[in-house]
Amino acid sequence: MATGMRIGVVTFPGSLDDRDAQRAVRLAGGEPVALWHGSHDLDGVEAIILPGGFSYGDYLRAGAIASLSPIMSEVVDAANKGMPVLGICNGFQMLAEARLIPGAHTRNAHQQFIRRDQRLRVENADTAWTNGFEQGQEITIPLKNADGRFIADAETVKRIEGQGQVAFRYLGVNPNGSFDDIAGVSNERGNVVGLMPHPEHATEPGFGPDTALAMSSGVDGLTFFTSVIRKALVA
């Protein structure tokens, strides 16, 4: 299983889930590589994760200042050349601020921080980070955010819905007021994916969401990381 695919995880000032993302990469059989926001060096990685947290205290707009970091110019270049990039929560916000994916985020419609195990439907199982799922598969991974309301103008929403760029949709409840229950989107090419919930927190039995079988046994998030490794093997 271990392929040793080198997957970079960028740490920004205020990142919280960088170590969890590294651990998820390791559990999926990859080799996590710690990358630093202030550097221009991608260290030869084959994929990149922008982790969750509250970079720069969400000053200006969530993810906005981090999206201007030195390393982001290399991340944007690599993404435009087709390198798989996954943005989780704050990383999703950075992808939007860097214009790598459409839309933007505002404060949750109900104004409160939210933390729950969230059901999602995989709307596009053909991206670099979702190809291990079945189309339409229902998964449960943790969600925890303050500025998680995905917004885009009506024309953009129509376009990304039509092009299959909606990667994940909230099921059961819409936890933050996101348009069309959109939980995650991809770029047109499908190598860049951003989502608000946290797959890296559902990768090891005993530390994930509850399932019908056992407490904390949910590992639906692992497939994100095995997908990108599988994609690399196939290619």
Binding site: L68, T106, A109, A152
Partner: protein
């Protein structure tokens, strides 16, 4: 020292949760003349001088950094020639008006 002031507001058609919370608070205080409150941002950029090049730069920054055009509009960019004096003058004229 001049100051360039950039004001950014959430787009009119989008929900402004902060403004909505304040609107409700005003209603609780009996200030029901306030039918809606919207909250935006004001950036004050202190500069040594104002040139056309600097203003063009600030205009670009207003569009690219200070605001996100998906959710916000830049509503004004103005120059205060002597910020301290202007603020003081505004404060005293407000006091006089009251």
């Amino acid at each position: 020292m001049p100051t360039i002031v950039v004001e950014v507001m959430p787009k009119a058609e989008l929900l402004d949760p902060q403004g909505k919370a304040v609107t409700f608070a005003l209603a609780r205080l009996g200030k029901d003349f306030a039918t809606e409150v919207r909250i935006g941002k004001r950036f004050e950029i202190a500069v040594d001088e104002v040139t056309d090049a600097i203003l063009a730069d600030v205009k670009q920054l207003a569009d690219d950094v200070f605001s996100n055009s998906v959710i916000e509009d830049v509503v004004s960019i103005e120059v205060l020639q002597d910020s301290a004096a202007t603020v003081a003058a505004e404060a005293s004229s407000t006091a006089a008006a009251l």
